[in-house]
Amino acid sequence: MSTSSGVQLAPSAGTISARTGVRWITVIGLEAHCQLKTRTKLFCGCEYVFGAPPNTLTCARCTGQPGALPVLNREALELAVRTGLALGADVAAVSKFDRKNYFYCDLPKGYQISQFDRPYCSGGGIALASGKFIRLTRIHMEEDAGKAIHDRGSATLVDLNRAGVPLIESVTEADISSSKEAHEYLTALKEILQYIGASDCDMEKGSLRCDVNISVHPQGEGWRTKVEIKNLNSFRFVEAAIEYEIQRQIIAYESGEPSQFPVQETRLWDSAKGVTRTMRSKESAHDYRYFAEPDLPPVTVDAAFLERQRSFLPELPAARRRRYRESLALSEYDAGVLTADRAVADFFEAVLRISGRPKEAANWITNEVMRAFSDPEMDARSVDELKIRPNDIAEVIAFVEKGTVNTSSARTLLREMMKTGKRAKVLVDELGLAQVQDTAQIENWCREALAGKDKIIADVKAGKEQALNALLGPVMRASKGSANPAIVKETLLRIIQAEH
């Protein structure tokens, strides 16, 4: 792939500059902020619902009233710890909260309660498909800020509904070397968080946000200055910002002009223009004046608590994929598609439990059911919204197996079931989808199809049985798909041999 700048991209092995032939290696670390799916905020009893009218989900605590004190939400700690366990991290027996001090209108207390030097989790990580392991440095808990809205005339409006919503920030080591790996890592992270019920990771609702730290250096040389890109709110933007930044940094270095070289700074992604832009330099970086939060005692986690949280962990996506491939003999593709969303995987397993047919269950779900999610007629964007339940699919599988309906009728049947929510048995009758086993009826359709087809008849008689296939279609059409194809074929052969 070549770009306008003339730099050749080869993501897995760095980037070869077309101009100089130098192979540039990219070094990336990711910080992901995920909203925890708790009933209430991190330090108060307010609920949080995305899109609620501004400043309706607030109280003395999350609006920073004088004298109000934070109280840690137990559920947030539980979900945070489960996340740590699912990512193979070490959960600290004792961690603490700190205050991160800065002024902004969406930060009610003038500080954010976060964790600085003693986060609740360290280590762990995620294995990519290639086998490469992306290590996590740490995960910490913190509260979200509110939202400042600047685009309503000259005033800045502040909505504090989001203020105090629990976040976990996971920080990787600089183990990622391409936009593709970054994407894969984030996808896996999102899958895991969704699987364990810790977060929706819905980027559109801001429940997952990313910062990227990135630098490039010629192969064989030491690491160079890293640049931070903040607040990327979609995986696509993460990829695009990384690609842009690789180009920008390589071009800057290859200019040979030290004043043009990348500097340590924070940049923002401008999605409209597809570029990153300086937000603030290192010199103007905030001094957050962290110190231990005196209003909260240290967080202690004992072995019993850890075990209890571990007991809530479901089988994680990677393990499930492996099991689907190895024990159920599903293809890599099917296993991947089925496990990407825990609800789909759970649905699949429910069908499997009833039908005992892994391949068939996988086929029906990955094809017909998942296609329905993007079909407006079906009015279902997820498994939860489907009008059918797992036993409905199992029934369809059984009907095909018993020959009650053929495969193409079954497809029609399942679509109708998803549209109407009616049971398979009812629809088979309503739509007349039962396979016709009546040989007299089939014989009539076959004779009609054979009329005038002397060439085919001659071929068949000459031993070319596959010539029959040309007649199958017309017969099936005449039967509106309800004829049993095997019987049709048999009947055609019988008629040709006996009567021609």
Binding site: G64, P66, G67, L69, L72, G110, Y111, V158, D295
Partner: protein, 504 residues
């Protein structure tokens, strides 16, 4: 003069519970006294007469209806202006919060109300509790009832004077580095700082969160015990609050006897700067304790000299963060400035905070800054551990520690206002206990004549961590054999207000 005049809270509560007088009449008298005295002493920033009268009528009705009167039934109380009661103005003595009415009620205030107490208003204080004289209040100083030219001490100045001048039997202050014990000493009343965490801080507007503790003023030790038992105990709204059982006063058969008790006297608490009259009064008090059977033991608290610098690093660091919320965005004063967000923050804070608060915010910001944290904040944390260790070692050999509360008796308003360092030293003997989280009480222990004006002196009794009951037992014993707590400011007689002691 009514039958309830001059009673302490326990006495008043019992009289009201018996029906000697209606709560409504008591509250009316309370406001009559406030109206008579407040113009001279500037005790309250805000009174809530309509609220108090309505509460009083409710309580009278409840009693008439046969309800059991609570332990503070009908007792009027004053709240420092950094305490939240929904609808009351809590402005912290600051322009930045002028007019701010709390949208919620502090846990300890609610517990007092539930026990039958009637908050009558919020009292004057050094701005955000930063000061030892009330001269840092944005609304002018409170005056000492013993000599209106002098300060009552601070920062809980209005609450101290509300009790000392007989306006209410009980008032609440907050003690961060001595803000209750020092004014109690300068006004001749009891002021008790409990073990850190005994009283929930939910609804106490923060100055230094790891030090702040709600602390009562009263004219008798039994009132202190009463109000402490009502306020203390675990609170789901404050994670730093201790789950302590109620104080079981250690009632000896002879309450005046201190036989078997050892009292440690740290030599560091008798520095050269100690006023002569204060030294004599405290030494006399120690002799009294000895006469009551206590053994006086010299002890050493070798790191005492580091207490003031340590305190002014840690308390200001926490304050710089605690006061960040006063930014003009959500409540309180807003000054637009140049129209930018940063400009609005700066203009609001420049106009809203007084000089001392600004000084402490700058100091606190500095000691937490990158590159300075270890040298200042980090080192202060280590010094705090050493101070704590001093007390732990001393309490291995003694039951309580005694010494002066304040090195000085009440000084003149304006005398030290321009010298913050000298003002800081007023807290030199109270700050070590605050940094260590220990319980300590100031009890009236004598009078010193300054310029032919009699001024009260306070004896400080310090207990080990969670040793609140022990401290109060010693205070009670001392109270039983002395008259100092019953002495009333002579000036007040001219204001035609009862100054008769409860048992006089």
């Amino acid at each position: 003069m009514s039958r309830t005049d001059g009673l302490d809270a326990v006495g008043l509560r019992d009289a009201l519970a018996r029906g000697d007088e209606s709560v409504e009449a008591t509250i009316a008298q309370t406001f009559d006294r406030i109206d008579a005295i407040d113009p001279r002493l500037h005790v309250f920033l805000n009174t809530e007469r309509a609220y108090a009268e309505a509460r009083a009528r409710d309580l009278d009705r409840a009693l008439a209806g046969g309800e059991t009167p609570g332990p503070l039934f009908g007792v009027p109380i004053a709240l420092k202006a950094n305490m939240c009661l929904a609808g009351f103005e809590s402005n912290c003595g600051s322009k930045i919060l002028a007019g701010y009415r709390a949208p919620y009620t502090a846990t300890f205030v609610q517990r007092l109300i539930d026990a039958g107490a009637i908050p009558v208003g919020t009292t004057n204080m050094d701005e955000f509790a930063m000061g030892s004289s009330s001269e840092n209040s944005a609304f002018g100083p409170t005056r000492n009832p013993w000599d209106p030219a002098r300060t009552p001490g601070g920062s809980s100045s209005g609450s101290a004077v509300a009790v000392a001048a007989g306006l209410v039997p009980i008032a609440l202050g907050s003690d961060t580095g001595g803000s209750v014990r020092q004014p109690a000493a300068l006004c001749g009343i009891h002021g008790f700082k409990p073990t850190y965490g005994r009283v929930s801080r939910f609804g106490l507007i923060a100055f230094g969160s790891s030090l702040d503790q709600v602390s009562p003023f009263a004219r008798s030790v039994r009132d202190i015990e009463l109000v402490m038992n009502v306020m203390s105990g675990a609170d789901a709204n404050d994670s730093t609050c201790l789950d302590e059982p109620p104080l079981e006063p250690e009632h000896a058969r002879d309450p005046a006897s201190l036989a078997g008790l050892s009292v440690g006297v740290p030599k560091e608490y008798f520095p050269n700067m100690l006023e002569g009259g204060v030294r004599r009064a405290v030494e006399a008090a120690l002799a009294t304790l000895e006469k009551q059977g206590a053994k006086i033991v010299p002890v050493t608290l070798p790191h005492t000299e580091f207490a003031i610098p340590t305190y002014y690093v840690l308390a200001t660091a926490e304050a710089s963060s605690n006061l960040a919320r006063y930014d003009g965005v959500r409540y309180g004063l807003r000054v637009d400035g140049d129209g930018s967000l940063q400009g609005m923050f700066a203009a609001t804070r420049a106009a809203g905070f007084g000089a001392e608060v600004k000084r402490r915010i700058l100091l606190g910001t500095y000691v937490l800054s990158a590159g300075y944290y270890d040298a200042w904040y980090g080192r202060a944390l280590r010094a705090r551990a050493l101070l704590r260790q001093d007390f732990e070692r001393a309490f291995e050999s003694v039951d309580v520690i005694a010494g002066p509360t304040s090195p000085l008796a009440a000084f003149k308003i304006g005398e030290k206002a321009n010298d913050p360092l000298e003002m800081y030293l007023a807290d030199a003997l109270t700050v070590p206990t605050s940094l260590s989280g220990l319980p300590a009480i100031s009890v009236p222990c004598g009078v010193v004549e300054v310029d032919s004006t009699p001024l009260p002196v306070g004896l400080q009794l310090i207990g080990p961590h969670r040793g609140d009951a022990r401290v109060l037992r010693v205070a009670r014993a001392f109270e039983a054999v002395t008259d100092f707590a019953r002495a009333r400011p002579p000036q007040l007689a001219t204001a035609r207000v009862a100054t008769r002691g409860a048992r006089a």
